[in-house]
Amino acid sequence: MYALQGGESIPVVDPSSADGVFALLWLVVALPLAGAAILLVGGKYTDRWGHLLGTLLPIGSFVISLVMFISVLGRDDSDRQVMQHLYTWIEAGHLNVGMDLLYDPLSALFLLLITGVGSLIHIYSIGYMAHDPRRRRFFGYLNLFVAAMLMLVLSENYLGLFLGWEGVGLASYLLIGFWQHKPSAAAAAKKAFVINRVGDMGLSLAIMMFFVLFGSTSFSVISSAAGNASETQMTVLGLLLLLAACGKSAQFPLQAWLLDAMEGPTPVSALIHAATMVTAGVYLIVRSNFVFELAPNAQTVVIVIAGISILWGAWIGCAKDDIKKALAGSTMSQIGYMMLGAGLGVAGYAFAIFHLLTHGFFKANMFLGAGSVMHGMDDDVDMRHYGAIRKAMPITFLTFAMGYLAIIGFPGFSGFWSKDKIIEVALTQNIVVGLVALLGAGVTGFYMTRLMLMTFFTEKRWSKGVHPHESPAVMTGPLVVLAALSVLGGIMLAGEWIVDFLQPVTGVSEHEDPPIPVLAVSAIAVVVVAIGVAVAWFVFGRHAVPREAPRDVSFVTRAGREEVYGNQINDTLVVNPSRHLTSGLLVTDKRVVDGVLTGGPVAIGAIATIARRAQNGFVRSYALSLLGGALIVVLALLAVNLT
């Protein structure tokens, strides 16, 4: 354990070997992986029962996770890290990368979230995808995703984490583009893929740097040797990891893919793009606490990025009429809160994870609720075509309302406890950051109330021939469970349980009091949210909502609808320049070299003869480029060595 300034310390990863129930750890990953293999390889023979198998296997993983969780609760703090060595992946000389799984309090909570919420979403999908001819394949991809995500959070080294990281990326790509007949879905899948590669670049560089600095990629080796590296090295590592986290978690400036990703089926949006995969970036940062604690500058950057993302996402959420995109903007903003917590260091890690869990509950709940609404509205996603749905779909409405109350932070609901804690720690450490978090909470109240009003209240604006009806029990069942979790999730904070539980991973923090009393912070937060809710009610609750989006709107709304110009910024800064680079290279390869020759420099008569004999316009240019290359090589050698 390292002591840090101010009495804080971060623990070293030092697991004991897996025995007892923990010997089943590998099964947690293996079950859904087997499901993916059977469903994808088995082809149409598994069509009839594929979705049932695909649902049972994650439930199996959940049961194992639950048993392990209960037995880890019975252990001492110091004995809560367990490692299972599966086999040696890469071994050459001293280079040794094991397929090792690490079960500790952090991965324990993730396991429960992934397999628990994952199982509920699988059950829901049985109903949601009932009429899709490719349902079996859908479940195969979902299982693949669950397996990869579990690998991500269970690996004991960065290389295994990278394996899961790429795996969830692949599954996400396949699932966003699942309805491939829609060109928009294919384009969205591609966009997600490309932007994520930018983040992956950060992760691969970081892993290589770990390897070069520490001779290993294992968490235990790196965490125990972290003190030997210089602060600059740690800052570079931290920034690279942050880049990776931004890509996966849709944080500024790599956020543009998340809204497009809503093209995927709604259960996918709930599972991958709300509850689990997009939080992998937060996991990465909390898991790498031994890097960030030694790199205060990198932590500052994390906080800045988080603050920007909170407001950026909220802004988008305020302006979108597509219910899923409004929720996606909200996801970006809420992950901003988690990143903020993670950036605040030892004092914030546990609350980041706490908010991650509660968000997993209420956001999955609301996405599935949105899916249920869409199910009843003939897959229309435009909230301007909704209104007054609460009567037609009472269960969906009530469960959605629980999620709504949780996300805005209504006192007593899960989101209240988790967001409040992050705001409190932020205020303690830096007043500006705290105010940004508070402002974000107010805006959250505004856009969620807008969404709620436009969908469930106000007058009917339904399209002709649409008759909303409540979804089948297989869909509402998971909604009820998630709604209960959204209400009760705050129980994890009772007696600071989650903070104590995560202490072996996140370290011990010195408790500092915020500048104003804790109760006052909560009260202010509630008031700010109430203002947001009230404004939304005045704007949307008291006037008729037009069926067509009004055009004469302020710049703020326009920018929000355009996702704060994220795509335009990307196009200008990245896409167009690289397009020019490519065409430039093409032209150089094809024409310029040739053109130079036609221009006729001397000493190439011989080549011209060769070219004539070959009766081909190109070989001469190839030969010229060869000659030019040779000249450059020789001149470069001389220049470098003789100066």
């Binding site: 590669r197 740097m209 001389l638 060595n641």
Partner: protein
């Protein structure tokens, strides 16, 4: 002047001699065995010869003497001209494995309806009566087997050569048969002949640079031997310019063979024009042999003057990766795409060449450059030979269909073959749990340990661009509906056991090297250092 009879260590060289022997026997067979029997005899003889040579290589490899306390294993043979050491044996092994794959692909006759992929009568002008006659009579050139065996012999000699003259001879022995083989395609013969001529002209041009460079280095060092050159470089006082120009020109010859930018321009044309089995064989074999030779030349002969050539290689490596990756993005022909991707892989391999060479300079747990490059070559060879083998299967009425438009929706029509192809592409892209990932990981880390971080960053950016174009092909196969309006769609022709066996071995090796790369990495590690 006394003539001393050279001592030749047959016990270590015999695997190579077997290959040359089979090649010569093949020529004799062409002259004496009746036409009807030639195909069978040549195929069996070539395959047997390669298998025997492979067995011999393993035997030689397990009997190498240890030198310098186990740092290196092997011996310098034939009066200092050939070295049979750990790296040589490793390279021989993988060259022979891919050569066996090449023979199997050469012998495939089901795809063309009973004849091989080679021209019936190469001398007949395309489009003439003679050509039609040759094709209706079912003629075929069985000379391809001896040609290939000579090329394999050259490939084996290339990385074993321990002086510049042997290196030059090996270069020509491996190149000349390949020039010929490239021009022997049965279909699209003009394209094939054009490719062969281009390859030959440019190859001759680069050989001229190489030969001139050899002369200059000789002028500097007063010897052709690598050890003597190294000695001269170390004691160098004034004649630096001569050495540098010579080094540059020799490098040009080698960089041309591996297809590094700006010497890459032949690659797409030749890969596209050559008969696909030849492309598969030479894409794997030539690259392995040339990188082996390059490693020995740079590390042994110019090893003590590393800083004179490394900056140049930095630039070449970055340029090669950028050119290969970026231009691959805009390709619309499968063989050209694989060619540009092979250029990009050359860049990744060059990144590995830049790494740390001495085990003593490394901290615990790191591989040396040599091991990383050797491993990468093995992983790349399996993927590329498998990928080209798949290309031979995807056909329409005009033979192999290599344009992207024909490949649309192939995953729907033939999920297995398209899946295997996708797997090879993923390995080349370096996705975890495939061989390519471990290979990339190895070469990038050695380069990073040597401080070549600008190259590594370029390499990672380029590998990301590369993922993009590989995935584009996968999308094309699985997610795009084949639209018959664009013309005929390709279908997968059922091959004989020869091609499917090659593909399956490639898949199995790619998978195994990705999941448990340990044994092969160990093998590369046990190869040890070069014997100087």
């Amino acid at each position: 002047m006394d003539f001393v009879k050279p001592t030749i260590e047959y016990s270590q060289l015999w695997p190579m001699l077997v290959v040359y022997g089979v090649a010569c026997a093949g020529v004799v067979i062409e002259a004496f065995v009746p036409r009807a029997l030639r195909f069978g005899v040549q195929t069996v003889l070539a395959a047997l010869g390669l298998v025997v040579a492979l067995g011999g290589t393993i035997w030689v490899g397990s009997n190498l003497d240890e030198l310098g306390g186990g740092v290196a294993r092997g011996a310098i043979d034939v009066e200092g001209t050939i070295v049979v050491d750990g790296p040589t044996v490793f390279l021989w092994g993988i060259i022979l494995v891919f050569a066996i794959g090449g023979v199997l692909l050469f012998a495939e006759r089901r795809l063309e309806g009973g004849v091989s992929a080679f021209a019936g009568q190469a001398a007949a002008l395309p489009g003439t009566e003679a050509e039609r006659l040759a094709s209706t009579r079912g003629l075929e050139h069985t000379e391809v087997y001896p040609l290939m065996m000579f090329a394999v012999g050259g490939m084996m000699l290339f990385p074993a050569a321990n002086d510049l003259l042997t290196l030059f001879v090996a270069l020509e022995v491996l190149s000349l048969p390949l020039y010929l083989l490239c021009g022997l395609a049965r279909r699209r013969r003009l394209l094939s002949q054009e490719a062969a001529l281009k390859y030959f002209l440019l190859g001759a041009f680069s050989s001229a640079f190489f030969a001139y460079g050899v002369a200059l280095v000789y002028g500097f060092a007063g010897s052709m031997g690598f050890a003597e050159i190294n000695e001269a470089v170390r004691n160098d006082t004034d004649n630096g310019v001569l050495l540098l120009i010579g080094l540059g020109m020799v490098s040009v010859g080698l960089l041309f063979k591996v297809g590094a930018a700006p010497f890459h321009s032949w690659t797409p044309d030749v890969y596209q024009g050559a008969p696909t089995p030849v492309t598969a064989f030479m894409a794997a074999g030539t690259k392995i042999a040339a990188f082996g030779a390059m490693l020995r030349l740079y590390y042994v002969a110019f090893g003590s003057d590393r800083w004179s050539w490394q900056p140049m290689l930095w630039v070449i490596a970055i340029l090669t990766m950028v050119v290969g990756a970026v231009l691959a993005v805009v390709q619309t022909d499968m063989k050209r795409l694989l060619a540009y991707s092979s250029v990009a892989h050359t860049g990744f391999l060059l990144t590995g060449v830049l790494g740390v060479q001495q085990a003593s300079e490394l901290s615990d747990g790191q591989v040396t450059s040599l091991q990383a490059v050797l491993f990468y070559l093995a992983t790349y060879g399996f993927a590329i030979i498998g990928a080209f083998a798949v290309v031979t299967l995807v056909r329409d009425s005009g033979g192999e269909a290599t344009t992207f438009a024909r490949w649309q929706g192939l995953g729907r029509r033939s999920p297995l073959v398209a899946g295997l192809f996708a797997f090879f592409l993923l390995s080349m892209a370096g996705i975890p749990l495939t061989a390519g990932f471990v290979g990339k990981w190895a070469v990038f880390t050695v380069a990073l340990s040597a401080g070549a971080w600008p190259v590594v960053i370029a390499a990672i950016v380029c590998s990301i661009i590369a993922v993009f174009f590989y995935v584009r092909v996968i999308v094309l196969m699985f997610f795009v509906d084949g639209d018959a309006a664009d013309g005929e769609l390709a279908v997968v022709t059922r091959p004989s056991l020869l091609t499917s066996g090659t593909i399956l071995v490639g898949v199995a090796a790619t998978l195994v090297l990705g999941i448990v790369p340990g044994p092969v990495l160990d093998l590369a590690a046990n190869a040890g250092q070069f014997v100087r």
